[in-house]
């Protein structure tokens, strides 16, 4: 198990290194520099600024410094936003993003599992039918379309919730719903398919032959086996949430990482863009690792096989 973990962490570091290197050299070929905004500077002033950002060093030296900084968690200094260190910018904004993502994931998957479970129990009933429709719509329609609809109807027209911004729990409701729809639909669909398959498997018949009550069949024997594979879609779900958070935060003007990214793109603030990208990559990779480990912990077949 430890060996497996070490190997996984090692691979993770390699991937991060590749991404970091890739984005560093991308940054070098991109036209943006801290000078753009301050065109009317004298040569000396420019020199001072370039010196300050370390942009006068030869590229290999810059690269080494950049990597050294990364190890210490230093993502460089923003070209804009008062030259704040990128790490500080991101650190200040991680709270709202994490809260939204967490709420959406929890609410979405719980509702989705319930919906899928109901659909699989009452197969071919109106419940099943409507849950299928919800699942198709929820997986198909982009979250920003939902966000627009929610914002217009419940905030602009009905005024039940704040239109945008951040602060109170009420501010989180609409963006959470908009973000949660996709995971909910995915979970509903997945749970239904898995449940239907599991309920047809031989060990369910064995359980029935033992006289286990229907509730026990569904919850003890069925759901557990159906939900274990659901862990595998948590990864794509998390990816979807990160993608979604960029647009949702933008639409609801939430001071999170995603909104920061979009703003940075608009003003060509490359250090921040790269820092955010790296953070996203780090987030993805860590989540995938956690999911794999979780899978091993929960499924006895993998757990006891020594985590291969």
């Amino acid at each position: 198990m430890t060996r497996y973990l070490l190997r996984r962490v090692w691979y993770m570091l390699i991937t991060l290194f590749i991404i970091a290197t890739f984005s560093f050299f991308l940054m070098k070929i991109l036209p943006g520099s801290p000078l753009q905004a301050e065109d009317k500077l004298t040569e000396e002033q420019k020199e001072i600024i370039l010196e300050k950002y370390g942009l006068n060093d030869p590229i290999p030296v810059q690269y080494a410094k950049y990597l050294g900084g990364l190890v210490k968690g230093d993502l460089g200094v923003s070209f804009k936003f008062d030259n704040t260190p990128v790490t500080t910018i991101l650190f200040d904004r991680i709270g709202p993003s994490a809260l939204l993502g967490f709420q959406a994931l929890v609410i979405g998957s719980i509702l989705g599992i319930l919906l899928g479970l109901m659909a699989s129990i009452f197969r071919n009933s109106p419940i099943d039918f409507s849950s299928t429709i919800i699942a198709v719509i929820g997986t198909s329609i982009p979250s920003f379309v939902f966000a627009g609809l929610l914002q217009y109807v419940f905030a602009v027209k009905l005024g039940w919730f704040p239109v945008a911004l951040w602060g109170t729990p009420a501010h989180t409701i609409l963006p959470t719903i908009a973000l949660a729809i996709h995971p909910m639909a995915t979970a509903a669909r997945f749970t239904r398919t898995e449940m239907v398959e599991v309920l047809h498997s031989n060990y369910i018949i064995t359980a029935r032959a033992k006289g286990v009550a229907e509730s026990g069949i569904i919850l003890k024997h069925g759901l557990r086996n159906a939900l274990i594979p659901l862990i595998t879609v948590l990864g794509p779900m998390a990816v979807g949430l990160m993608t979604g958070s960029m647009v949702i935060e933008q639409i609801f003007a939430i001071p999170g990482i995603g909104e920061q990214f979009v703003t940075s793109v608009m003003v060509n603030d490359y250090p921040t863009i790269m820092g955010t990208t790296l953070l996203f990559a780090f987030g993805f990779i860590v989540i995938i690792l956690i999911i794999d480990l979780l899978y091993g912990l929960i499924d006895p077949r993998i757990r006891l096989a020594g985590g291969k």
Binding site: G148, Y152, V247, V265, Y270, T277, I285
Partner: protein
Amino acid sequence: MDKNNLKNIPKDLFVPLVRKEDTSEKISAPSRTFFQDAKRTLFSNKPAVFSMILILFIIIMSIVGPWMNNYGSDEQDLKRAKMPPRVPAFENVSWLGMNGTLSGTFQGKDVQQASAKAKARFDNKEEFIDLEVINKGDGTRNSAEVKATYRIYEAKDMKDTYFWFGSDALGRDQWTRLWEGTRVSLIIAFVAALLDLVIGVSYGGISAFYGGRVDNIMQRIAEILVGIPNLVIILLMMLVLKPGIISIVIALSITGWIGMSRIVRGEVLKLKNQEFVLASRTLGTSNGTIIRKHLVPNISGIIIINTMFSVPGAIFFEAFLSFIGLGIVPPDASLGSLIDLGFDNLRLYPYMLVFPAIVISVLMIAFNIVGDGLRDAFDPKMHK
């Protein structure tokens, strides 16, 4: 059956049966090929058929739509900016919101104050504003409510002008831009899906077919690419490339093919060792023939399904990138950039968001339903 009955059976029936023809081996149903079977299943799936018709309709509209009126997609004219939708046939159907009027409810402490607000909102052109008092109010704040309808086309002296889907903030015709944008989104989606298909199938196919060292090296490379989240790669690529159709296609295709290649590799590996392929190998059939005769027919189902699902994926990513300012940028239109502009005007001119949002939603749903339908049709497990 009682004993009496048994006694009464005519004796001549107790003679050995003379068989006219051997019926026991007759095949009861005409055998259909796998593809015919799949086609039949697909076409009996009503939602899938309906979705295919919808997709076809949207494709046709994206081609002919812009020619159906005389506006160009980039004809700016600020005088006619933000005009609401107006369609000749629907002019008397106010609930559809396509009769060329703007409306809103306004509140004040009395009717007068509310009306004043309405007039201020609608360019102070009193003669073109119809007021309808909803609530007289009792003098307290915002107790009075007035519904105002503003005949903006008349006010702007454009009685004979019809913007079917309204005009945007720069006075461009939304109908024209919507269908041109749809065309751009569809082109991106189809080209990206096609590239995924070509690259993925060749990569996975070659890797599996040759096996050994080749397979090993190719899989190592794919593994590294898989480790990097595709959102990150797409975002980085979009930063480097100039925004535009080609860039989006390239960014999507850099990682998009991996899923396809894995599936194809898996299927080919599975098939490669199956008896009928081994048999024709032993008979000296060439690789090319084996690929054409055995592998292609057997894996085309799964390839078609996968491609069908990568189309909506690409549509989504185009919209996403354009929305965050990394994709198609105005004046070019795409569903994503139109939606982005729509959000800027959501409060007062929701129609700017509604139409592109509907088209993208319908497209995504329809492609997913067709994809599901194909999966059901091609999945042999489902042919019960």
